[in-house]
Every structure is written in C-alpha cells, then in structure tokens.
C-alpha cells in the first residue's frame, strides 16, 4: 500500500492539465502582446477578478458537494452586498461589522433555501431558481426605496484599501510590495484554505461529501442529511454574499446589478476544476484554476479588442466542454466499478480534495 508522492498524484489530476493550459496561454499572450504583463492595468485587475470569481466558484462548489445547484448565486450575492451597503450607508457601521452583516444575510437566505429543499424534497434547481426570481425583484426594490440613484456609496474606513489597494500599499521598513498584486487576494486565499480544511479535515465537510455521494446511504450511516443540506446552502449563500461584497469594494459602490455575471461563471470554475456535478467530490484548487483559466482567456481576448458577445459565446463553449468532460469522467468512474472494463483506466481518486 505505498502511496504515490504528492507531485505524482497532482500530475494525474485534471488540475495539472489546467495549470499547463494556463501557463501556455499566458506565454502565448505575453509573446504576442507584451502589454499583457502591465502590472497596474492588466495583471492587477485580472487578479482582482480572479479573486472575486474564485469565491463565486466556491459558493457554487459548496452546493455541488451535496449534488445540488444554486441558480440564485448571483442574486444571493446581490442580497448580501445590499445588506452590507445598507449598514455602511444608513447605519454607518465600520467595515468588518458591515461585511459580517452581509455574510450573515447571505447565509440566512441560503439556509432558508436549503431548509425549503430539505423539507419539501423539491429539486434544488427549482427552489434556487424561484429564490433567484424572488431576490431579482426584491433587491432593486429595496435599493430604489432606500437610496438615491439606486446605489449605496458610503465607504467606511479601509473599504478602498480592501477593494482597490495593492501590496504597494503595504510597506515594511521602507520596502513596499508589488503594485501588481491586489490586497483582495489575501482574504480570498484565506477563504480557500478554510473551505479546503472544511472538506478534507472536518467531520461536517466529509459528511457533506457523503451526502452528495448518496443521500440514502448517508442517512443510513447516521449522517443528519437534512441539516447538512441546510448547511451547504447556508455556506453557499454566505460565500456568494462575500463575493458580492468584494466586487462592490473593487468597483467602489453597492448596486443592484452586483452578481449579474456570477451564475454561469460559478459553474464553469468548479466543473473545469474537477468537481463532480453529481456531488461527492470537490476541489478548491481546481475551482481556482478553472476560474483563472476562463478569466485569463477573457482578459486576453479583451486585449485583442474582442467584444463581450464573443466572450460570452466562448464562455458557453467552455462550459459545454467542461460539462462533457464531467460526464465523461462520471461514465469512466461508473465503468470502473466493473473490473471487466480495463482496470488501469480509472485511477483511484485521491483522498485530499484540495
């Protein structure tokens, strides 16, 4: 029972393919357009959006872990961000307290969604779709009744530093960090670590995965599946809210359109990264890499002056490819059950998701 080394295991995963593609893509972009390496105008905004959308991807991954979907991920982001915006604009709360309020609001709306799903047994697609419509109406209504010009613009201390600051703003004994790396990556890296620890090290995280693998077997193994469903949706709502708030700090104000672009991206990242749509298997690093790939492509096409419509067509194609890859992997896994299929075709799936 000798376990292969970490590096060898990583090379055998879809993640490795993503890393190779991303590196090649960046190399080509730099070779053709050296301006791609411009720190302030290209790299920093790219990293900011990678950071925000990684959180969006993790929000979706949270419910994918139990085999559910969250169609309302964008609207939950809008809702959480709105609550933060209200605490800043109308109550004058400090940064951390306001963000906490937004996260709690996101978690609450997610928990409600999860509770409805667990209680009624209605498919998560339907329930989150309904939730998405409800919030789509509610959020702009609240914005227009509570703010002038449908935006919350009050910025508490530290707001701009979080959303627009870079390591150039962090100086230690006269030496400052690079301006190309925005500060926003710090909280996002922290969130990635926390989510990875949740799924690999904690009982609750593993129980989420087993609930996704088979609800019936999970219930019969003593896992409180109802509570796990509520938890997965609550965490999804909280992460969506975090993504919405981070996006607001980077664009400088809270508006009802926050989260509009989240839903499609939220699926592309995790699925490209190896998370199973059917549940039971997630990858935090994979989600990050999947998001990175799509955003590098987007940035590259932007540099070449390609319009947003073309970008969306491309995003659709990528999603289709990713979904087919997911299906192929599932079929291969299923075949793997009967050893009469070629035994070497299916590698054992590594235990560590991150």
């Amino acid at each position: 029972m000798n376990e292969p080394g970490l590096l060898r295991r990583f090379v055998a995963t879809p993640r490795f393919v993503l890393v190779v593609i991303i590196v090649l893509l960046v190399a080509v972009l730099v070779a053709v357009k050296p301006s791609f390496l411009n720190g302030t105008f290209v790299i920093a905004p790219l990293l900011t959006s990678i950071a925000v959308f990684t959180v969006v991807g993790l929000a979706q991954m949270m419910v994918l872990s139990i085999g559910h979907m969250n169609i309302a991920v964008g609207q939950m982001a809008a809702f959480g961000a709105m609550v933060s915006g209200i605490t800043f604009d109308l109550a004058g709360w400090p940064l951390v307290a306001g963000i906490a309020a937004g996260l709690v609001a996101g978690a609450a709306i997610g928990a409600l969604t999860g509770w409805i799903i667990a209680r009624t047994g209605v498919n998560s697609f339907i329930v989150t779709l309904a939730m998405s419509f409800a919030l789509l109406g509610l959020v702009p209504t609240i914005y227009s009744s509570l703010s002038a010009g449908s935006a919350f613009t009050t910025k508490p201390a530290g707001f701009d530093l979080l959303g627009r600051g870079s390591f150039a703003d962090v100086c230690l004994v006269g030496w400052c960090g690079p301006a190309a790396i925005p500060l926003i990556v710090v909280p996002v890296a922290l969130v990635m670590v926390l989510v990875a620890v949740l799924f690999t090290k904690t009982r609750v995280g593993r129980e989420l995965l087993l609930t996704g693998a088979s609800v019936k077997a999970a219930e019969l193994s003593g896992i409180p599946t109802g509570r796990r469903i509520v938890l997965a949706h609550a965490l999804s709502g909280a992460l969506a809210a975090l993504a919405g708030i981070l996006l607001a700090t980077s664009i400088g104000s809270f508006t009802p359109s926050i989260g509009d672009e989240f839903m499609l991206q939220s699926f592309v990242g995790p699925i490209l990264g190896g998370t199973l749509l059917a549940g039971g298997y997630v990858s935090v690093v994979g989600t990050f890499l999947g998001i990175t790939l799509t955003l590098v492509i987007r940035k590259g096409l932007e540099l070449f002056g390609v319009g947003i419509e073309t970008l969306n067509v491309l995003l659709g194609v990528i999603l289709l490819v990713a979904l087919s890859a997911d299906r192929v992997r599932e079929v291969r896994l299923r075949r793997g059950r009967t050893p009469d299929a070629s035994g070497a075709a299916t590698p054992e799936r590594e235990e560590v998701a991150a």
């Binding site: 129980e207 693998a213 088979s214 077997a217 003593g222 039971g280 896994l333 235990e351």
Partner: protein
C-alpha cells in the same frame, strides 16, 4: 420430449467480480408448459432471467429460440425474438393510460400520427385475450400493483411474445390477485406459449407448474424435470443443498437469564406493522425470517427511526427509547443497522474505503480541535480491514471497485468501528459467494460471543437455521410465531413454513 423447445439455454455462464453468478446452466422451455424456476436468494435466478432477455451478456453457453441460436445485444433484441419478461418491480409509464402502456412499444400509426382509436382497440383486444376486465382509457396510476402486472403481461402479448418470464410475480400481491394471475398464466399455456415462473411459494408452484428447474449457487442442480416426479421435501433439499453441511455450527449457549438489550412490545408502525413483539438479549442471535415483502426490512427501519412507531413500545436495556434517526440510534443507544441493499444504502460506491468505514467514527475522532486526525482514522480503518479480511489494494481505493462480498464487509466494518452493542443485520449474504458467506457466518457468531445482541434478517432459510438461536417468523407485517432453533433443517423448515402459511390460510 419431441417438441422443439421455444427457448433453450445450454451451458449458460456469467461471472461478476468475485462471484460466478451462473455456471453452466441448462434450461428448456417447452410450448404449452409452465416451468418453475426455483432457488434461494442469490442462487442466480434473476441473473438467468437477465441473461435470457439481453440485459446481461453470457460469458459462455448459448441461447436457442425455437431451434435457432440467438445472441441478444440488448433487451429489445430479446423482445423482438418473442421473449417477454415481467419483473418483480412494476415497470409502467405512470403518465400513460392502460392502453398506451400496452401498445407503447409499437404504437399503431396512421399517416405518421398515432392512431388513438386503434390504440384503444388493440389494447382492449389484448386485455380480452387475457380475460382481464380493464378499460384501456384508465390512467395507469389508478391501478393496483397486481393490475399493473396484468397490464405488463398484456404488453408482452401485444409484441407477440411466445415465451413469458415472470420474476416472482406473486411476491407482493394478495391471494385473490394471485388467483387471477394464475388464470392468465393458464390461458397462456393453453394457447401454446411457454411461461417461466419464479416463486418462493412452493404451494403455488405445485398447483400451477408442470416442469421445474432448480438453481443453487449458479448451477442448475435440477434441469427441466417433470415437477410431479419430485416431492416437496426433495425440491427443498435440492434448493438448499447440503453444501453447507461441512460448516461446523458451533455449540453456542445463548444466554437466557440476562435482560433483553432490544425489545419490541406490541409495536404498530407507520409502515403497516401491527402488534409486533420480540426481544434480543446480549450475546444472542434472533433470526427474523419471512418472504420478500413480509415487512422485515420495514421493521428494521422502524427501529432506527426511518418509520414511526405509532403504538406499543421500543425498549433498549429495559427503558423506553424514542429513536428518530440512524444517528440517534448510534449515538444514544450504540445500535447499528447493516442495510439490506448494500449498493445503494450500505456503501458509498464512489468514495474511498477509508471514508466508507470511518463515517461512523468521525465524531469521536474529531474531539478537541474539531479536525479529524487522518492518522487515527487510518488506524481505525486498517484495524477493521485486517479484522474482517477485506481484500483491497489501498485504503484510498473506491468501494465500488470491490467485489460484492468485500463491499458487504465494508458495510459491516462501518458499524463495527462504532463499537455497537446492538446490531441489526439485514440480508447479509445476498449475492455473495459461498466462501465469503462462511466467513460472514463465523464473524456473526463471533460478534454474538463477544456480547452483541444481533437481530438477523434473512429470507434464506438455511442461513437462518445455521445462524440463529431463535427464529421469529414475519408474514404480512405481523409476527406469526417464534421457534427455538434446534439446528435440524427438516423439522425447522417444516415449522417455519407452517408459520408463514398459518396466516395465509386464515384469509
């Protein structure tokens, strides 16, 4: 016999990982006969039916239909060759009417559109042929399970089926419904078709079948013999075999003087049980025997809180207990439930062996920091992998890649890891080869000797008589009696069968 058989299997073999499900099976279905296919659970009856209808592809042997050798690529090919099957579970389209369900495999069309009047007409003709009084326009959901079964037979007739395979058609229908089914079967026989009839109820087999084939551990030990030449007891012996005779049953003295660990007192449940009482003492194996559909698994579900107990009392160690979930059963009472359906309920096929076994102990491994120690987890899992002799290549191997027997061991190891005091084991050896079966028997004895109170559910009578200290018999969601096991197969089987039919005769 001079007539050409309508369907003949010659030397049919089929293997699955770890199990030889069919081993050189021979079967001849003659026109105008009702042929009984008998055998214990796991003997290979369903596999044979699947091999005959194109679901499984046999590894060796041939299938001859009316004198011509055939290889079925899929179930549709078997249907086209005139072989129809009605499975134990109902297989109808719930949004369709009776008529649509009958003709759905070949919808009558005119000018490219479905000819609805023809649909009704032809469906009605099929039903009339069977002498079944049903309106083709009725939505299928308004029918009882037994009526749906008849609709499925009508569907088979519509596609000109010459050979009809019926897999335990009477397992879940009432006596009156069975009578109607048999009238239909008789008509098919008189019409010159062949019917293969799978059943565990020997009485109805003797009443309606003329030929018999018995499967045991994948082999046809009695091949297409006239049923009248074989007495009831002889058939039972052939089914069970004395192959387990070499297994030495230990002389166990189940404790009598201790208080029961698990006790049901006049329990009525939402699953439909009425007035069920039984008691299991520490160190004792209580067998719960019954046919498929008798309510045994449902009783286990009621004990672990998946069904509600509406009257009577569940007592653990003498004090009343209310269990609402498997988790509560485990954490409050150290009661474990090894499920019947291991592929869907017992193991997580696409998860590692470590996760499959450690799921019950994470909460105890995670104390303090809240993080599960991977090292301690591997220690626990390795201990049970060694202890139960589970054959794996790595702890990270997916459970789905193990053989059925090893999967079942994983399913059991999960509960043993949680050190239970009471264990409900539901059909532990279905679809498991003989060698692993014995390993299981020895393990279950050992667990009882270590002081576990074990409630063993099985529809394998030989297994019951081998393992249990006492056997409680369940029929139609009630306990019809309890027998002290004297480990003598003949007297025990007679007694148990009598208890099953005691209730049926009263109706």
């Amino acid at each position: 016999m001079t007539t050409t058989p309508l369907l003949e299997a010659i030397g049919l073999s089929k293997s699955f990982p770890g199990v030889k499900a069919l081993d050189g099976v021979n079967l001849r279905l003659a026109p105008g006969s009702v042929h009984a296919l008998l055998g214990e659970n796991g003997a290979g009856k369903s596999t044979l039916i699947k091999a005959l209808t194109g679901v499984h592809r046999p590894d060796a042997g041939s299938i001859v239909v009316a004198g011509r050798e055939q290889r079925f690529a899929d179930p549709a090919a078997a249907r086209a060759a005139g072989i129809g099957v009605v499975h134990q579970e109902r297989n109808v389209i719930r949004s369709f009417t009776v008529g649509e369900n009958i003709v759905m495999e070949r919808m009558p069309r005119s000018a490219g559109r479905i000819d609805w009047s023809k649909v009704r007409g032809e469906a009605a003709a099929c039903l009339a042929l069977l002498d079944v009084d049903l309106d083709p326009a009725t939505p299928i959901t308004e029918l009882s399970s037994a009526q749906m079964q008849l609709v499925e037979i009508a569907r088979a007739l519509y596609t000109e089926t010459r050979v009809l395979l019926l897999d335990e058609p009477t397992a879940s229908i009432s006596g009156a419904e069975s009578d109607r089914l048999f009238r239909v079967v008789d008509r098919l026989r008189d019409d010159g078709r062949a019917v293969l009839f799978v059943s565990h109820k020997l009485e109805e087999v003797y009443a309606h079948c003329d030929t018999v084939t018995v499967l045991r551990d994948g082999e046809s030990v009695l091949e297409s013999q006239p049923l009248a030449e074989h007495a009831h007891d002889e058939i039972v012996d052939t089914m069970v075999g004395r192959s387990l005779g070499s297994l030495t049953v230990p002389t166990r003295s189940a404790p009598r003087d201790v208080a029961p660990a698990l006790e049901l007192d006049g329990v009525t449940t939402t699953a439909g049980h009425h007035d069920v009482s039984l008691a299991v003492r520490p160190g004792e194996i209580l067998g719960l025997y019954g046919l498929v559909g008798a309510g045994r698994t449902e009783l286990a579900h009621a004990i672990v809180g998946l069904e509600r107990i509406t009257a009577g009392e569940l007592r653990i160690d003498g004090s009343p207990a209310r269990i609402r979930s498997v988790r509560q059963a485990l954490q409050r009472h150290r009661l474990g439930y090894v499920t019947e359906n291991r592929k869907e309920e017992g193991v997580f096929l696409e998860q590692s062996i470590t996760r499959n076994i450690a799921v019950t102990v994470w909460s105890s491994l995670a104390r303090g920091t809240g993080l599960v120690s991977g090292r301690r987890e591997r220690e626990v899992v390795s201990r049970y992998v060694d202890d139960l002799d589970i054959r794996i290549s790595s702890l990270n191997q997916l459970a789905g890649r193990l053989s059925g027997g090893n999967q079942q061991k994983v399913s059991l190891a999960k509960w043993l890891a949680a050190s239970p005091r009471i264990l409900i084991i539901d059909e532990p050896t279905v679809g498991i080869d003989l060698r692993t079966k014995r390993a299981f028997y020895e393990l279950i004895w050992r667990l009882a000797d270590e002081g576990l109170a074990i409630l063993l559910i099985s529809s394998d009578l030989a297994e019951m008589i081998t393992l249990a200290d006492r056997v409680a018999v369940m029929d139609r969601f009630a306990i019809t009696g309890e027998v002290e096991n004297d480990h003598d197969y003949d007297s025990m089987s007679r007694e148990v069968i009598r208890l099953i039919h005691a209730d049926a005769d009263a109706l």
